[in-house]
């Protein structure tokens, strides 16, 4: 095996299982690693230095960190539809057979032809897009943007549907702990022992945080062993839930936290399990123990593969038994860099030099290492990987790895999600949370500036005890685990000056100290402007290793202090979350529920074509053998209904049951036309307005008894009308004796229409005098059907024919449609779908949503006479505003092409003959069209200025979108049987 950089097991066993080797592929290269490796640790063990190309300049880049803060080592994981771009190699758990490829280069990674971009860097500084690609404007979409997109950027999508499953779930707890490092584990122990319900989540797959990366001793054992012992104790508690591989990514209102658990990302195949679970955690209190992230120092050419964070160098050695180089140099402004040097040296790794800008005595003696105090690294060399470093004292040293530590930044992200603003702490040279944390949130440990082990352990313990006591639990008497505090001393030192080369601040976005200074020089001085102008701190890492460095350089350039310069704050998510996780199972057919009508199974048996109407699937037409087009079916259904009889499932219409002694008075408020005096046993058409006078909905309401009405609404507005009526009932008329219940799903309802409808219904309905006198137009009654099944009968007509609507409890719907078809067989009854329904209503001049589109008033549809002036109803007052009833307002008209062979299109505009089709000359529009088999031509409904007085005029229907211009005759909207004699017959 080619693990040339793996440290001997006796010197550093690490947390890997060397008896479990694994094979993986990076680009075309096959490599080996072990159970417990990340992709990054395994690549480093194989000596793989160059793993990526940078975003803008296509510079060679290597692994920089050992955690989710990684700016460089972004790879595409897996292949085909499972391919995932921009995955951090530092968090990707190794599994046998893993495949990864590098991104953002053309040609092989080692010879990226786009690296020529690096030579153009003088022209590509901050804001270069804004300046370079400004003109000509037309070039942007066709030329500039495609080029920029192809040359800059991150990974690519597979463009295939994501085959993985994602789940969502809800969790509840007394205390949520984000982070299972020393402070988090210490807190979980204290809270768990008190009996509180605790959830502790950590993004890593081995819990313990830095305890797994350091050589700490806690309570007489290694930090890792203490973490394992603590986790075992927590796992044994019924009141504690441990969530490994889970990132708390957002702090939301009222103690709700978003968490992403990666269930199967570490397995070769997810099988039938969900890949990830998005948890919504309801906590009474949350304790943030998110630790701290190390940052770099800016110096010339500080971005070469092999230059990485000193803490990451230490982590690779301690946790994964990997030496990140054969000749390791350390550049540090604080004591933690020295820790790296001592620990690697003890494991037999050659430390060539330690460079510390502090003018103090060396912190340690490291055998064989050149120690330079009061100096800095000022340049580096090595084309695809680091070879050499140059110091400010002129010395040149060979090194293939340079561990850099510019200090540690507390992970305050979750404290900022509700606009909390961190404050600068000079002692630790970092931002710590200000006082304005989200309600119910506490922060402890390194995330709060407790930068040493003993302090972090006791901060977690103390915070948890305080919280659970507040929640009413009794603190356990157990003491906090004992540990020493390592030294923590830092000099604020941000970047090495005195050179003209590029010194990187943000590796992910290729932002250098020059860019920050240029931003300042060009007036983008506030941190928010700095971020947008230079892209500092954007993209997948959100500047975890670069933000503080960037604003320190800005502070220096403006001559201000860091607290005066301020900081940007963080929004969710803490780390990227796949869109698929937010979607969960709600995709494709499951994006919204599917509602089936009671006759759906029957219609399906007839071969019906279905159409989605909101959530409903409705039969659109019923094809028959020999039909050449859909129109053949629709025309047949219309002709047969008008000639004999047809049946249509109208169960999707909203149905609201209204009861109470004030039911009539209540309806009088809801509808603009009078309802108080509707006789029992009669139906009335009702028009509903919005309070601003615009038409809202219409439908029929039947008075079944003195105090019982049954309302229908349009299919689309069923939910909204019910909501508005509940508002009126509870908020406007709280003392009315009226009760509402939605019964849309409870009743199956069929329209039976046509000259033979009466004969068919006589066979269906029990014991009702079906004569025109016995059950006249607009009659209604509670009835039984088919020999005793309870039902309701309404004589209402949408088609203009003699028509009935019969309703039965939904479970009898399937049986009833079959009974109606049997009863109608002798009349050659036809089922009809929504298309035929639409044709007949256009012929008849009935309005639907195409007309009542949220802009139309009762006046526009010639129904202003229905808005009673003798009573107060919703919308009545404002419907009479001067401009809404002005003469030049559009009015509903019917429209027919002058040439019968012409077609019409909805959306066409009415234009007078001999005028240009301009906005000024616009006279109105066509809202609905259909081919009418009755008139044997296209007809339509539309709105025309003063249209009610223009019947008989010839004007044009101009459609600029479809390129048509048709002469049309304006007619009454009531084209079929205008007197209404048929439906009353």
């Amino acid at each position: 095996m080619s693990n040339n950089f793996r440290i001997d097991v006796k010197k550093s066993a690490g947390l890997i299982d060397r008896t479990q080797p694994m094979t993986f592929k990076f680009n075309s290269k096959t490599m080996h690693g072990f159970q417990g490796d990340t992709l990054a640790s395994a690549m480093l063990a194989n000596g793989e230095r160059l793993v990526a190309r940078s975003f803008k300049y296509h510079r060679p880049r290597g692994i920089f960190s050992a955690g989710s803060e990684e700016p460089n080592a972004l790879v595409q994981l897996r292949t085909g539809a499972y391919q995932e771009p921009n995955t951090r190699a530092t968090t990707a758990e190794l599994f046998d057979g893993l495949t990864a490829t590098s991104q953002n280069h053309r040609g092989p990674l080692g010879f990226d032809i786009m690296s020529a971009t690096d030579l153009l860097s003088p022209f590509l500084g901050a804001g270069f897009y804004y300046k370079t690609f400004m003109w000509p404007a037309a070039f942007w979409e066709k030329l500039y943007e495609p080029i920029i997109r192809a040359s800059a950027g991150l990974g690519s999508l597979s463009m295939l549907e994501d085959p993985d499953k994602y789940d969502k779930g809800f969790l509840h707890c007394d205390l949520l702990i984000a982070g299972a490092g020393p402070s988090g584990l210490s807190a979980a122990l204290a809270a768990g022992r008190s009996g509180a319900r605790v959830i502790i989540a950590d993004e890593d797959f081995v819990l313990g945080g830095r305890l797994n990366a350091e050589n700490h001793t806690i309570a007489g054992m290694s930090g890792h062993d203490w973490a394992q012992q603590t986790l075992a104790e927590l796992a044994a508690m019924d009141n504690v839930r441990i969530l490994p591989r889970t990132t708390i990514f957002g702090a939301y209102d009222h103690g709700i936290y978003g968490a992403l658990e990666r269930k199967t990302d570490h397995l070769p195949h997810a099988g039938d399990k969900p890949r990830q679970v998005l948890w919504r955690i309801y906590s009474k209190h949350a304790l943030i123990c998110a630790g701290a992230t190390e940052r770099s120092i800016a110096f010339a050419n500080n971005d070469r593969p092999g230059i990485m964070l000193a803490g990451a160098v230490r982590a690779y050695a301690n946790r994964w038994g990997v030496a990140t180089g054969k000749q390791v140099a350390i550049f540090t402004n604080n004591d933690s860099g020295w820790q790296t040097a001592s620990e690697l040296s003890a494991k037999g790794v050659n430390i060539t030099a330690i460079i510390d800008p502090r003018d103090t005595a060396p912190r340690a003696h490291i055998a064989g290492a050149t120690i330079v105090m009061g100096a800095s690294v000022c340049n580096t060399a090595g084309r695809k990987a680091l070879h050499r470093i140059t110091l400010t004292n002129g010395q040149t040293l060979n090194a293939d790895c340079l561990g850099v530590s510019g200090g540690w930044s507390p992970n305050v992200h979750l404290t900022c999600h509700q606009r909390g603003r961190p404050v600068w702490n000079d002692d630790i040279a970092g931002f710590v949370p200000g006082g304005d944390l989200p309600v119910g949130q506490t922060i402890a440990g390194a995330a709060n500036g407790d930068m040493t082990l003993g302090a972090a352990l006791s901060a977690g313990h103390k915070a948890a005890n305080g919280i659970v006591k507040e929640l009413g639990f009794t603190n356990s008497r157990a003491q906090v685990a004992k540990a020493d505090d390592e030294t923590f001393a830092i000099k604020q030192f941000w970047h090495v000056t005195g050179h003209k080369q590029r010194a990187w601040i943000d590796l992910q976005n290729d932002v250098t100290t020059k860019d920050v200074k240029q931003s300042q020089a060009e007036g983008f001085k506030s941190v928010e402007h700095l971020k947008r102008y230079t892209t500092l701190g954007m993209a997948t890492d959100q500047g975890k290793t670069s933000n503080v460095l960037g604003l320190a350089v800005m502070a220096e350039a403006t001559g201000k202090t860091i607290p005066e310069t301020g900081t940007t704050i963080f929004r969710p998510p803490y780390n990227p979350v796949a869109v698929g996780a937010f979607g969960g199972r709600e995709r494709g057919q499951h994006f919204h529920p599917t509602r089936l009508t009671p006759s759906h199974r029957w219609a399906d048996e007839q071969g019906a074509q279905f159409v989605e109407v909101g959530n409903w699937m409705r039969a659109q037409w019923f094809p028959k053998q020999g039909d050449k087009t859909w129109r053949d079916a629709v025309d047949r259904e219309v002709i047969q209904t008008r000639a004999s009889v047809g049946v249509c499932d109208v169960s999707t219409l909203g149905k609201i049951d209204i009861k109470g002694t004030d039911a009539a008075a209540f309806l009088n408020k809801m509808y603009s036309n009078p309802f108080a005096k509707v006789p029992v046993g009669r139906v009335r058409y009702g028009l509903m307005l919005r309070e601003d006078g615009i038409c809202y909905d219409d439908g029929t309401t039947a008075r079944m008894s003195e105090n019982h009405f049954v309302m229908t609404t349009t299919t689309a507005n069923a939910v909204l009308v019910y909501r508005n009526m509940e508002f009126a009932r509870q908020c406007l008329f709280p003392d009315m004796d009226v009760h509402l219940i939605s019964t849309t799903d409870q009743w199956a309802q069929f329209a039976v229409a046509g000259p033979n409808a009466r004969a068919v219904m006589a066979k269906i309905v029990d014991k009702v005098d079906m004569s025109n006198d016995g059950f006249p137009f607009m009659a209604c009654a509670d009835v039984t059907v088919c020999g005793g099944t309870p039902g309701r009968l309404f004589r209402i007509s949408f088609s203009g024919e003699i028509a009935y609507e019969v309703a039965v409890p939904a479970r009898y719907g399937d049986a009833l449609i079959r009974e109606i078809m049997d009863a109608g067989a002798e009349f050659d009854i036809t089922p009809y779908g929504t298309e035929a329904l639409g044709v007949m209503r256009v012929e008849k001049g009935h309005v639907t949503g195409a007309e009542l589109d949220g802009r139309i008033t009762a006046f526009n549809v010639n129904m202003n006479g229905m808005v009673s002036v003798k009573k107060d109803s919703i919308g009545a007052t404002l419907s009479r505003r001067e401009m809404m009833v002005a003469e030049n307002q559009v009015r509903l008209v019917g429209v027919k092409p002058v040439d019968k062979s012409d077609t019409l299109s909805a959306g066409a505009h009415f234009i007078a003959p001999d005028t240009a089709p301009t906005t000024q000359n616009d006279l109105g529009w066509i809202s609905s069209v259909c081919y009418s088999p009755h008139f044997e031509q296209h007809i339509g409904l539309g709105f025309l200025k003063g249209g009610h007085k223009r019947h008989g005029e010839i004007i044009r229907a101009w459609d600029g979108v479809r390129g048509t211009d048709v002469d049309v005759e304006i007619v009454s909207p009531h084209m079929y049987d205008p007197e209404g004699g048929l439906q009353r017959g």
Binding site: H254, R723, C731, L732, P734, M736
Partner: protein, 95 residues
Amino acid sequence: MIINHPLLGPRDANEFVHLGDVSMIDRPDGMDADAAAKFHDYLYLRDNPAGEYRELWYHEAGDRSWLVVTRDTLTHAISSVELARDVARTRGRSK
């Protein structure tokens, strides 16, 4: 957000539909002489405070109660939740 429903206890805001200012309860009488002016103000004039705000929420995926929620628009802290029907009565509404 979590809304502490006066009848049902704490419920997730997902179950609710938001309408707006509690002043929607104070609907004028359409038969008043100056009804048009009153309706104009009722419909179009709203306060938009940075701070405490009383607003109407509807428990549509629940018991279909309309509620008056007092919420701080700066922090989302909810200080009281009442049944809108009770509030409507205290604001003088009846039939």
